[in-house]
Symmetry: D2
Subunit: 363 residues, 4 copies
């Protein structure tokens, strides 16, 4: 259970890391939107391992195939099933880990829950599952971009204690992609790369923070009580592997201000009601107010490290485990498109609640 996300726009992901493949079924995509496999592939490529020396060098081809839902280059309004075959199946590579509970992985908790697990590469708990999210989110983001003028841009704000400068302007996709760590601040980017290499060379890993910004979102999206926009965005990113924290708008730092300093005064600007500041992060009472929406997500250092670690095995024996092979020393560069993807699912889902499935967009 729990493999679906969204109500009117819903993604259902499937697949184990070393099974036949991973994928997603997208239900609720508005009909008549132009869509090709290439539109999705470009996002998968951003998530792909082997892009640079600061991510895992595993060579995953990761070609997406559409199984349904698109005809004559346009969406049909029916489920879009997308499949990525697993190419890198190395039976035996994980033999040593079959019985060992890797620290801060899901090995032990899966075993407790299910009484069975696929030990190869983490099975369902592998971050490879996020391929399905990226594919589904690519469709959502495209609907929002083409149909509603909404742009979503995430980037790396910090790696361990290396923090990028505050970005005034809305970053371009190009400025993010120009950095191998996906940090548009070139100086910070270089320091982040160094920090990641340093950890990698020690057989260790580091974490970091991703910021996500959304512009062009109309006021009025989000539901007042439980399905607040911030709560749904929070759930979306907190469900990503390694995510441990979420802030919208002023976040934890906002607790240090007094109300008079924190409140966003309204003013008339460009002929409409705007806020002077944006500590609300574009959401008030759970509903978008037409300002930029932004939030931050904390990702812990990758649990898989080459350094030897104490642990126990399924038989209760104390053992030592050490990752062999190829692993990300830092997850944040590759998680950027994943954050964008799940944010897109949330935003489109809320859009459809207010404006309807089949008529909200000009496709």
């Amino acid at each position: 259970m729990g493999n679906s996300f969204g109500e009117l726009f819903r993604i259902t992901t499937f697949g184990e890391s070393h099974g036949a493949g991973v994928g997603v079924v997208v239900d609720g995509c508005p009909p008549r939107m132009p869509l090709s496999e290439g539109d999705v592939q470009v996002e998968l490529d951003r998530r792909r391992p082997g892009q640079s020396d600061v991510v895992t060098p595993r060579a995953e081809g990761d070609r997406v195939e559409f199984l349904s839902g698109v005809y004559g280059g346009r969406t049909l309004g029916t489920p879009i099933a997308m499949l990525v075959r697993n190419g890198d199946q190395r039976p035996g590579a994980y033999e040593e880990l079959r019985d060992k509970f890797r620290p801060s992985h899901a090995d032990f908790s899966y075993q407790e829950k299910f009484g069975v697990r696929d030990p190869n590469g983490g099975g369902r708990a592998s971050a490879r599952e996020t391929l399905g999210r990226v594919a589904g989110g690519a469709v959502a983001a495209r609907v929002l971009r083409l149909g509603a003028g909404v742009e979503i841009c995430a980037y790396v704000e910090s790696v361990q204690d290396v923090v990028a400068g505050e970005l005034e302007a809305f970053p371009s996709r190009e400025s993010v992609e120009a950095s191998v760590v996906r940090c548009p601040d070139a100086v910070a980017s270089a320091r982040m790369v160094a920090r990641i290499r340093e950890a990698r060379d020690c057989g260790d890993s580091v974490g970091g923070v991703v910021r996500c910004r959304v512009r062009g979102l109309r006021a009025g999206l989000g539901e007042p009580v439980f399905d607040r926009l911030g709560a749904d965005l929070g759930k979306a990113v907190l469900s990503l592997p390694a995510a441990k924290g979420f802030e919208i708008g002023s976040g934890f730092a906002g607790t240090l201000l007094r109300g008079s300093a924190h409140n966003d005064a309204f003013e008339m600007r460009e002929g409409r009601v705007r806020t002077v500041s944006n500590r609300s992060g574009g959401v008030q009472g759970g509903i978008s107010n037409g300002e930029e929406v932004f939030f931050r997500v904390a990702f812990k250092p990758v649990a898989t490290i080459a350094l030897p670690q104490r642990t126990v095995d399924a038989h209760g024996r104390e053992v030592v485990v050490a990752a062999r092979g190829r692993h990300d020393p830092c997850v944040v560069p590759r998680v950027v498109p994943v954050v964008e993807a799940v944010a897109a699912v949330v935003l489109l889902d809320h859009w459809l609640r207010d404006w309807g499935q089949n008529h909200a967009f000009g496709f």
Copy 2:
């Protein structure tokens, strides 16, 4: 929409601040559990205004009435509807605010979404809605406590920059209730009270952080992909009014550590698999691992302040607004039982997914 939360244990809240009443329908409560109105009232009393001089002095009686679902002192397994009448209806008290968009409130975004709103006391956007959550959560917490030995305890960790000391032992309900701000660290508590009074006397407000801890939770709860325990807890508390941030386990601070320092090594302890440290916050791969679950929630300073503020009205005129009457200078003391309530809903919901509706507990 969006007024329900949970799948197998589901609460649906209703009510505007100054309408006839607020309440909740609880669906999915296991049958045969002893339950009285008093069991719920005790939690509502903790959320009640007028408890001390650091919260709003409004005198809200807030008596809960059971409308259904309980017979002969036991739950029937049918919906438990609970109603709290609104006693403090002062028509006209909000006349001035009818057309003004209060800064950092939901006035403007509601108007954009619905094209209509109840201006009295915030209507549906009032924190009074959380009464229904507390009532529903009180039932969930009782099931967990009586049926599964799970204890949930939240408390105030900081008010603005006043931070309580790290608490080693699991706090008792008594130690939390002994403090008017619900901070079990007596020294910090006194400083927090002073900080809140200071802000109140300036016509201003402050925010803070609530920590919530859960012990006795078995391993294996939570769903691997989207409905991770941390994600669902995150959504639950991020849907509370004024919540702007959430951390589970090491949170944002965890991004500063290397993997080798962050990972929680497993060991055998007391005859079972335990972690040596608990930076995971009791959740690994989205699933509980049997350790204590803990998380933190950031609440911004209350938006309603006595100080005059710039804003605009529904006609686009720039105006000044200043709250009159009785308001909380700081929300965190009263939000403690609300955090516990929504956490209980999440935990019980996940419990029922694995163990079933009617047979999971020994009632």
Copy 3:
């Protein structure tokens, strides 16, 4: 569980027959629609006992109270909670039935499921629960009528073997209400009344069939695969107490025709695509085609009868049971507004999926 129905327009009912009250929370009602308690009361009055001598003479006042969701005579887009107090609480009246499993009632199956039940008047299993459905459906029907020109009309087509003549024209509400059994065929109506009295005088009961017709529904509503319009209408009415069968369009009789005789040819009529016949019942491939939607529902004879019946009690003893007091000898006259109500919920829910929550109607 299972006390909610609908996705975007959702009703959640609560209440036992002899508890404090019964009611409903409506979530997803479009904002800005004029709505008063009287608009709902008129439908409750149609469901009310004591309307004539062919239904139960119990005097239930059944006044609805709005608890939330309406302000200044208009819906707010927030949950509309409606409560009907139970006036007729006669503790002890059901004492004899406390341990006896009444034949073809829910006593035994509830006991097996929950291990506990409220024996008074059937508790949650009482048809009194449908009050909440009628109240919620009245809101849905009003949205459809005022906002979309959709009319829903149900009526009694048969009582036992007394069958009304086929009705060519769409019946008016007046023609239905003119009959105490809600059969617009006056001749059949008189015979139905006689048939019901006959059964009543023998201490027995009879069943019947309700037909429901919908006009003005636009083409394109319904979801292709699982949430077909006919399937959702079927579930809605099959969830009513005593319902045992459902047909849409040609139904079971359609299985006797050949395809060439059954198919509905398309033609151009009044400038648009129409079907010549309507054996499809207005739904093709699960989606409305713009023709009249119609379906039939079979209701078994009421299980509660005055005649003595064999049964067993909770201790496994074979005993005799006989209903005392006031009961409906035939459910169909009073079930007519309930069928309309749940049909309205289905239709509005599907409307909102396609056209959105907040902007589909001209309110």
Copy 4:
């Protein structure tokens, strides 16, 4: 939307008739159950065209491939994605139908809803979609059979006016499969075959009725109000292509009896509470009572016929259409495993609600 069914055990189907493939994602399958592709294939083979001369002679290989969720021959508790490639893609075969609205098909209503459609073989509206349901249902039925001793058996009860004799004993799978029309009454079976051939030879089609019986189901399954077992079974089968009617227990015929004749008296039998008769169809108050559950489903004659028919095209021109190629003259023989499949999904889903996801069965 609407491509998922079930709550705790949920199937999501995808695929167009002539796209890359059709399939299903099963979420919520209990872990540790032995499962192979062969276990699913055997059910697909029963649904397969070309089994006899009374069904379509199309040669569809229809081999299922597991993409996820099974490891080492056992279910993992993670989503089981299953894919069946479409082998029979004949581009151009449907060229003539591109713009014509076939009578009583979904062509017109899809066009109205989506504004676009895949004209090849009905696209998403093709009965080929039910492959996914059969695959998903095969998993559910296996859980019920191996884990709970529940047997589900459907068979053809009538083809047009040829009706099988009432079957006293629970039919064996073998007795059903021995008949090419899946009617265990050999005499009726022969007459049904003749009736279908007759229609086929005229270029016409016939409909029929499928009965489904379930034994071994424990008492207490089903939810009281909206998610009654009969209502959910009704929705499940009414969502099948060509289904127009549903009856549980006594159904429409039950409306002809008086209550005293219809009620199922309770008695003690074999040491437990049983009903003497079973007009309730094993469900009382929406909840199973431990008796056999049975229901009937009406399927209209297949809309696709070789005879020429009047219709209009997308340009509003009146045209004639006639099916070419290979089509079923009668759907009921092949729909038998589909009915069993969706019934299994409903029953398992309800089982899991009461007894939980991970511990309900002895796997």
